[in-house]
């Protein structure tokens, strides 16, 4: 029997090492991917609203239902996402839009776009912003020559060009902003959860031991 025990110990330690390895692999894969939550992201651009939807592991929600409601809960339109999880629609109305994504198997998420970010038809201002002033001193202020007055039409055109350029520039930023949500699960959260469970275990054991004694 004593001859047998070191071999048994060896086998046990090998098994425990393999368990530790398995746990490490699980942790590594866990921190990289996470599943089971859908995320909807939407932004207005020009007179259209673009939506992107994906699972929290980055997989796109294909062929999922998107519904758009106004601030009073009336349904304005609905559609389905394409193969890349995208769906876009022309701005239906100048109200706060509530966009609801319903993916398969009971997954759901929603996103609000406030009315201020929307533009009805191209070029039309949202009501919150100041109306274009008729006269603006822009050119020739330094050399003393009489400043040329911009007509409201010109101001409007400049504004549109600037906005278009800004939209183009901000597109990657928008994408970046929507990304961190999808990788929200960190090692700290996982460890915290496990710690929480063992804390609950401690509380249960404490009360049971008091009852027992």
């Amino acid at each position: 029997m004593p001859k047998d025990s070191p071999r048994k110990g060896n086998r046990l330690s090998r098994i425990s090492w393999s368990m530790i390895f398995l746990f490490a692999v699980m942790c590594a894969s866990a921190s990289r991917t996470s599943a089971h939550r859908v995320i909807l992201f939407a932004y207005a651009e020009g007179d259209r609203v673009f939506t992107e939807s994906y699972f929290s592991d980055g997989k796109r929600c294909q062929d999922s239902r998107i519904e758009v409601f106004d601030s009073f809960g009336n349904k304005l339109l609905e559609g389905k996402t394409d193969r890349n999880g995208q769906f876009s629609f022309p701005t239906p109305q100048k109200t706060d839009l509530r966009i609801v994504l319903t993916a398969s198997m009971g997954h759901k998420d929603e996103y609000m776009i406030p009315a201020g970010e929307l533009r009805g038809e191209a070029g039309e201002r949202s009501p919150g912003s100041e109306p274009p002033k008729a006269a603006k001193k822009v050119f020739g202020a330094e050399n003393g020559s009489p400043a040329r007055q911009l007509t409201p039409h010109e101001v409007q055109q400049i504004r549109m060009v600037v906005e278009e350029a800004l939209n183009e520039k901000l597109k990657p930023v928008m994408r970046l902003l929507s990304k961190p949500q999808s990788e929200g699960i960190s090692f700290v959260q996982v460890m915290g959860g496990i710690g929480f469970i063992f804390g609950i275990m401690g509380i249960i054991l404490y009360f049971r031991s008091r009852r027992g004694s």
């Binding site: 866990a30 599943a35 089971h36 198997m105 009971g106 496990i194 469970i197 609950i200």
Partner: protein
């Protein structure tokens, strides 16, 4: 298989909470002092398992481990799964607080069914029967879980067969993987710590 907030109607949510509360009551009553640490370890395993994503198939699915929970814990799987789901909802935003009752019941009820169906067979001396039962336990727990999810979603107005088909097909790889995990875990415990499998039946 976490159902999100705002998908289910109030009666379904309330029913889920009531059933889960009842299950937890039974589970806590059957929980021995000595087995609390074991329950905690399996709760942690269940908690982490949902982060392990199975990259096969058309949809986004992950491990559940409810078959293993049922097999090793019996009724205490109910409070264990409830706590794990609560933390998943809190920390990962999987599922939601209002749907906690329904989600916990959907996962824990199949675990209990599989416990009653397979726990005795897994303990048998005959290796093939034991292994087959362990695999079936992991497999069936997911399959029943899928059907439970489909059943809860039916009350929102969609037809049962349609949803069930989608959910079951998406989880087929998970069923097989969980069957294998349960098989190896049970085989491992049977060799090294057979008293863990026996302990469940000590207090009934």
């Amino acid at each position: 298989m976490h159902i999100s907030e705002g998908v289910l109607s109030a009666p379904v949510l309330v029913t889920g909470v009531a059933l889960t509360a009842a299950g937890c009551g039974v589970g806590l009553r059957k929980l021995d002092y000595d087995r609390v640490p074991q329950v905690a370890i399996l709760t942690s395993a269940f908690f982490v398992a949902s982060l392990i994503h199975v990259p096969i198939g058309p949809s986004s699915v992950h491990l559940v481990l409810n078959g293993l929970m049922g097999l090793l814990l019996g009724w205490p799987a109910f409070p264990a799964i409830l706590i794990a789901l609560f933390l998943q909802a809190l920390l990962f935003q999987f599922g939601g607080i209002t749907t906690l009752g329904v989600n916990a019941f959907n996962m824990a009820f199949p675990a209990i069914i599989c416990f009653y169906l397979f726990a005795y067979a897994v303990k048998r001396k005959h290796n093939l029967i034991s292994m087959g039962a362990a695999f079936a336990c992991g497999f069936l727990a997911i399959l029943l879980g899928c059907l439970m999810v489909a059943l809860s979603l039916t009350f929102t107005g969609d037809p049962f067969v349609g949803i069930a088909k989608v959910v079951v097909i998406a989880h087929l790889p998970v069923m097989i993987i969980e069957g294998l995990i349960t098989l190896f875990s049970a085989g491992f415990l049977k060799k090294l710590k057979p008293e863990l499998l026996e302990a469940i039946h000590a207090k009934r």
